[in-house]
């Protein structure tokens, strides 16, 4: 109920923003569209190779955003988005989502070299083919960016994420912090690389018996068929470290090709698993 109220409030805020889009000082709507493919080498978050299931996804997202300079150094931005992803093999992960972002930004000084801090809140409603996964996903966070030169910048972030799903297995929370370095090498080519660490709930699948996981799991659901075979699902708190790198190539002033790679290493006690995620897509902003 609490999340429904937040969503209604944000929807109302968006309605106000959209209704006022033609008024002076409100910028927008600015449209963004992204589509592409994602490969996850370990969709089952499994430790043992016999439990590992991988899959490809086609994914897309579109959004409209409005922004407004509310004071000399303060800026408010709102975005509504919709998207989804379609797995090639495991239909349980068929997903559609709707959501909103609200962000308040502060820029300390003038010009592109001035540091910025942004406080944001994302509220997202996810619908999965596997009903139990469908959830409210809420993420408040902070980002601070400091340009180091005309083309290089560093960004720190912290965010808290919380999920409230139909099935308790998919409820959870997480605290994440990270650092990202960006480099605009030319007017067309840019790179980013970074590290982030998250401590929070994950869902891992394994064939029983796994007393080591049972010992640390908060929720255990035996007999799941998410991966077209019978596995036990465990929800446990774990520490995930991610190293990531991206390359963007601007084909047009409004259109970029993006290739991203993430390596995730998750541990809890003596349990650990790795994920390799590769994403290839097209992003447009206009």
């Amino acid at each position: 109920m609490r999340y429904s109220c937040i969503a209604v409030f944000l929807g109302f805020a968006f309605g106000m923003a959209m209704g006022s889009a033609s008024a002076q000082k409100i910028e927008g709507p600015a449209w963004d569209v992204a589509t592409g493919f994602l490969y996850n080498s370990n969709l089952s978050n499994a430790e043992r190779s016999t439990d590992v299931e991988s899959d490809f996804f086609w994914q897309m997202e579109g959004g409209a955003s409005w922004s407004r300079a509310i004071e000399r150094d303060w800026r408010l931005r709102a975005r509504a988005f919709a998207g989804g992803s379609v797995p090639f093999e495991y239909e349980a992960f068929n997903q559609a989502r709707l959501g909103t972002d609200l962000e308040l930004g502060y820029k300390h000084g003038l010009g592109p070299m001035a540091p910025t801090v942004r406080a944001g809140l994302t509220v997202e409603r996810d619908f999965f083919e596997e009903d139990g996964r469908s959830r409210w996903f809420i993420t408040p966070g902070l980002r601070a960016r400091q340009p180091l030169s005309e083309s290089v910048g560093v960004e720190l972030h912290y965010r808290f994420d919380t999920s409230r799903a139909i099935a308790p297995l998919f409820d959870g929370y997480g605290n994440e912090g990270g650092v990202t370095l960006t480099w605009e090498a030319t007017d067309r080519l840019s790179f980013s690389a970074g590290y982030r660490a998250r401590y929070g709930d994950v869902v891992s699948y394994a064939a029983p018996p796994r007393p080591d996981i049972v010992g640390v799991a908060d929720v255990i659901v035996p007999g799941t068929t998410t991966f077209n075979r019978t596995l036990t699902a465990y929800r446990l708190e774990a520490f995930t470290q991610t190293a990531h790198a991206s390359v963007f190539f601007a084909l047009l002033p409004e259109l970029s090709l993006a290739v991203q790679y993430r390596f995730q290493h998750t541990t809890r006690a003596a349990i650990s698993y790795d994920n390799h995620l590769v994403e290839f897509g097209i992003k447009a902003g206009f």
């Binding site: 300079a69 000399r72 003038l110 083309s151 790179f191």
Partner: protein, 226 residues
């Protein structure tokens, strides 16, 4: 310099036995003006547009009269991207977008900022020192323009073909100065001989054409403070 044989007067009187002729030779020097053509190319020989070319006669010359100019903001870009104005000129920055802009300059020649405003009525800024002023918008980091403030009356901006014609330049030696927003290092100086009209070919060592992108890139902060 041209010599005009301005007057040759011969008076004859038929009733006078002795013809008397008078020859008056007067040489009057007057200042001649000429047009000087400059061709600006980059390191690969490609024409360079929007290069600022100024000419200063060795003998000095008239100072330019201040002007009233405008640099507009439309479709979230400055227009023009490069402009030349005489020292003392007033420049307004009308905002033709329906969103607020925040024009500023950190340049030592003229530091100012015009915080968040909309509409075409903007405060005029007086540029009272010569030099380069880089303009930006604090909201949209990709918006950049350059003002070249000059204290000479002979200046021009290169066309797409790289050509600049400086008209009615006074006779005598002079020095040319060429600058571009992407020029590496200091402005290029070229000495102009007294009888030289050009075309004077000038090659500039340019930086890559780096413009802060608006397309999605590495980090969504790359597109400005949005």
């Amino acid at each position: 310099m041209t010599i005009i044989w301005s007057n040759l007067v011969l008076k004859q009187a038929s009733n006078i036995a002795c013809a008397c002729a008078s020859l008056l030779l007067i040489a009057v020097p007057i200042a001649e003006s000429r047009d000087v053509t400059v061709m600006v190319v980059d390191g690969k020989g490609a024409p360079v547009q929007d290069a600022v070319v100024t000419l200063t006669p060795a003998a000095g010359g008239k100072k330019p009269a201040p002007t009233n100019s405008e640099i507009t903001q439309a479709s979230q870009e400055f227009t023009p991207l490069v402009a030349i104005i005489p020292v003392g000129s007033r420049v307004r920055f009308p905002n033709k977008d329906n969103v607020a802009h925040h024009v500023y300059s950190f340049s030592p020649v003229k530091k100012f900022d015009l915080p968040l405003y909309t509409g075409e009525e903007s405060e005029a800024v007086i540029f009272d020192r010569p030099g380069v002023v880089k303009l930006g918008c604090n909201i949209h980091d990709w918006m950049v323009a350059h003002l070249f403030v000059t204290d000479t009356a002979w200046f021009g901006l290169s066309e797409k073909s790289g050509r600049v014609i400086l008209r009615q330049v006074p006779a005598g030696t002079a020095s040319l100065e060429i600058w571009h927003p992407r020029l590496k290092g200091n402005p290029v100086q070229v000495a102009l001989a007294a009888d030289e009209n050009g075309p004077v070919n000038v090659q500039l060592d340019m930086r890559p054409d780096f413009k802060r992108r608006r397309a999605p890139g590495a980090g969504d902060a790359a597109g400005g403070y949005q």
